[in-house]
């Protein structure tokens, strides 16, 4: 940790994209219908593209000569700064979609706010990503509504997914000194937008936000769930077993 809040912040944004993109990409060839294989690959591609921008920027800010690949493939789990939501396992397709929706509903307003950041580089990356995030949100919102208000089974699966994942949403908009150094007081507006938007959509989807309000945190400061270590072991295998090799 360099103590530079911009570095830490760029890692948080980039690691969210990387870990979610990595999870989503594992569906390639296994989705419920061909159009979903194609759409999920698109989402994963966008997220990996955004990862390259954020982590590339983080490496520059850090100034130790590490590039996006070094940061992605050569850090241990405790050095990752993604929120807990994105590292939750794919589960069934309903869990994957709900995780995506809960992330997109935060990611899009966040990038919109960051596009106005005083830090030019942060603003640039956000500007490049925000259109993709708008498309992701549009898509995941539509599917959550249709499946929530679909058959009994699709409703039950989406409700179960929401019950399991809601507890990880508080961390998205919970702020600390690092976030505030970059985005200032913009976060309170994002929290409000997030809560309003998700409750409106869940209403339409006939889904109910769980009553228990305890929110899990830790990912943003490097304290993750068990799932992350296993995922990194898979993702990093070639770089770890062939140190210094070019690919």
């Amino acid at each position: 940790m360099t103590g530079n809040p911009i570095y830490e912040f760029a890692l948080r944004m980039g690691d969210n994209c990387l870990i979610l993109g990595q999870n989503v990409s594992a569906w390639c060839g296994h989705a419920p219908v061909l159009e979903e294989d194609i759409a999920l690959a698109n989402v994963a591609l966008d997220l990996i593209g955004q990862t390259r921008m954020w982590l590339g920027f983080a490496g520059e800010v850090e100034g130790k000569g590490r590039n996006a690949d070094d940061l992605a493939f050569l850090r241990d789990a405790r050095a990752f700064r993604n929120c807990l939501l994105v590292e939750q396992p794919n589960g069934d397709f309903g869990q994957t979609l709900m995780r995506q929706f809960l992330f997109d509903a935060w990611h899009h307003p966040m990038l919109k706010a960051l596009a106005g950041s005083a830090n030019v580089r942060v603003a640039e990356v956000a500007e490049k990503s925000v259109k993709e995030a708008a498309y992701h949100l549009d898509r995941s919102t539509g599917l959550v509504i249709r499946l929530g208000d679909g058959s009994d089974e699709s409703h039950n699966r989406m409700q179960a997914a929401l019950d399991g994942l809601w507890r990880y949403t508080g961390e998205l908009y919970a702020t600390d000194a690092i976030d505030e150094a970059v985005i200032g007081r913009g976060f309170s507006a994002i929290e409000e937008q997030y809560k309003n938007y998700t409750s409106k959509i869940f209403d339409e989807a006939t889904l109910t936000i769980p009553e228990a309000t305890f929110m899990h945190k830790g990912g943003k400061s490097g304290l993750h769930s068990e799932a992350l270590g296993a995922m990194l072991a898979d993702m990093q295998i070639l770089q770890r077993s062939h140190p210094g090799a070019q690919w």
Partner: protein, 330 residues
Amino acid sequence: MYAQEVKSTGKGVKSLDEMEPLERAFQEKVNADIKIEPKDRMPDGYRKTLIRQISQHAHSEIVGQLPEGNWITRAPTLERKAILIAKVQDEAGHGLYLYCAAETLGISRDQMTEQLLSGKAKYSSIFNYPTLTWADIGAIGWLVDGAAIMNQVPLQRCSFGPYSRAMIRVCKEESFHQRQGYDIMMKLCDGTQAQKEMAQDALDRWWWPSLMMFGPSDAQSVHSAQSMAWKIKQDTNDELRQKFVDQTVPQAKYLSLTVPDPDLKWNEEKGGHDFGEVDWAEFFEVVAGNGPCNADRMAARRKAWSDGAWFRDGLMAHAQKKQTRNVAAE
């Protein structure tokens, strides 16, 4: 190749004089290179052959996502990961165009899916081999997509309009795929000793299965003649295989890799390479379902389909509810 086991239904090729008037009119149209479109009159055998060929081709694209998809989560750099995702996505897209092209002949995508999952429809034998190392991703792009292009370039001139147009789009993407595969191989062959060994091992394992992609030798392929008369097929299996070997051998040499065939040598007289005999016994076993990954590939497709039933049903249920509400509101 992607449709290597298509049995056309015609019983030998008739001359124009032997044909009924309608049949003759159709053949003359084909001979004049006029594209056959979905609503045109066509012989039943032509329709059936095309449905089989196009659906096999589509199934190959769909199953073909699996061996490469196996390395998406382990791709060694972010750029390689993005390229591989894009490539696998292209394959899903090719499957989609091809299913649509086959649908114009009067079969639904669900029926074709059913035929794949029940084992009634075939897909290319190549996808029943495992991807064991990262170099296999390079070898697939280089060899498998290279062989696919060899077959699909002539298919752009296929007599059936929708298939021909689908192939034009597919070929553009396939040539990009082949280049990315060769690029992976170049990087490995230029790398550490372990990477070079990985590259050689991948060539050793993928060479012969790639040659099998062109299907049985012409001598054993009794149905080629009718497909060629109908311009569904333009070159024989052996011609394409020869072309592939001649194109690929110098590429292997450039990588300083050794093609695993002791009988391979340049034949000045024929202006091409002589090469050893493919192990056809292995080929027929793989086609019959006994290859190293047939069971896994089919299990993965069946699981995706059955696990996804609630998703598809849920969307249908929502669409019906919406329709009912709209009617009630009117």
